[in-house]
Symmetry: C2
Subunit: 219 residues, 2 copies
DNA sequence: ACAAAAGTGTTCGATATACACCCATGT
DNA sequence: ACATGGGTGTATATCGAACACTTTTGT
């Protein structure tokens, strides 16, 4: 029985949630778009296989990676029995700028509006999106889509892009402030003709402390 | 690469959350307790394999089954590379009374207090317990541990057993009542010397309606 | 009579939501 | 001057947590 890993690679591009897809060059589903992935080697863990594929097919390392679901129906791959462990990955906005530029067949597409995918990859992508939305609300995955420092406006745009709906600026800032997991920096950036915005960074230490006290949610 | 399914079978016995474990008769880990499981056949789906093992090793059918996580580190099985898809199952209290009585090596043990398990099954069991606790709060898995009709006292004991802490009776009843997914029956049962308790059943239709309106949470 | 579980409301604090204006900057 | 995003507070509704007594039955 052959085992593969497929990866749903999410990133924010132009403040839209997108996924990196690969156009298949060989049958089955030749010409169709599909999730990047490949076979698991005999001597590597499932996660190592996923990271290797990420580097080979998207040219990225050091990102957030989480196992999603395993599909293995007989007949899902016309070539024979294949069990696929699906992962999803989150890229920061800077990394996403260079990801997938090597492989000619790779392309970013909107996560909610994309062509029919090969195999059962539509289902996997839908499930990944659902999981990401849920995790956004009770974990800190949102920060994984941004660089180390960011403005509150950028952070809110991440949440809006993933959730797919607008959020109230004042409520969003109050909630983030109450969590106490953001450290303001003495730096300001400006993007376009507007008032400069203060930079923040995610404070993992404070987050761990809160989580251990049971104030926040487990991962 | 060989693929197996292992199943964490939960049930309430004596109002305690227990798991069904199997004592291994052959190396490796001979004599150790382990999760029931076995190899996936070439022509069956992962879930079908899990259901087959449930019937073979525990003698149960028609239960709640949900995929949990997939482990596949090289070296986790000394016999060679094995990728294991873990599931967890919920048995109703009546079914649990007969489960595992055929296989001599099967035994129910408390979910939170059990011997060291073979392979990495301790981790899998811990993860299953965590998942069950989380799902209890935003889904209706709690009902899967009870027969079709039940009293509110029994339902509360299910929640307390899974969560591992006592709940306030009035708050519990009010919350359940507000959800509007319980249908009272014109039947009463009595267990011991006390006032008879009204029977209820879970109303899946109302639940679906609420969920579709976004009032309840997605599965 | 008493033991044991069923049944029933109110108060309070915390949390989520709705909502509008001034500020700093580039053009 | 104006367009653009940054930054700030209050009022209200909703939800979760704490808390005690009466009822019905078997022994």
């Amino acid at each position: 029985m052959r085992v593969t890993v497929d990866i749903v690679i999410f990133a924010l591009r132009d403040w839209e949630l997108q996924v990196l897809l690969i156009q298949r060059g060989i049958p089955p589903f030749e010409g169709h778009w599909a999730l990047p992935g490949g076979f698991v080697h005999e001597d590597e863990s499932l996660e190592a296989a996923a990271r290797r594929e990420l580097e080979e097919e998207a040219g990225v390392r050091d990102l957030y990676l989480e196992q999603l679901y395993t599909v293995g129906d007989p007949g899902r791959d016309p070539r024979g029995r294949v069990v696929t462990v699906a992962y999803y990955a989150l890229l920061t906005t800077e990394v996403a700028l260079v990801a997938g530029t090597d492989a000619g067949a790779a392309r970013w597409m909107p996560a909610r509006k994309h062509p029919r995918l090969a195999f059962d990859h539509d289902r996997i992508l839908g499930y990944a999106l659902e999981r990401l939305i849920n995790k956004l609300e009770y974990t800190t995955v949102g920060f994984k889509l941004l660089p180390k420092t960011f403005t509150l406006g950028q952070l809110q745009r991440v949440y809006e892009a993933v959730l797919g709906r607008p959020l109230d600026k004042r409520n969003f800032r109050r909630k983030m402030g109450l969590l106490g997991i953001l450290t303001p920096l003495d730096e300001y950036v400006q993007d376009g003709p507007s008032r400069p915005a203060q930079l923040y960074r995610f404070s993992a230490k404070r987050f761990e402390r809160l989580r251990d006290k049971g104030i926040l949610f487990p991962f």
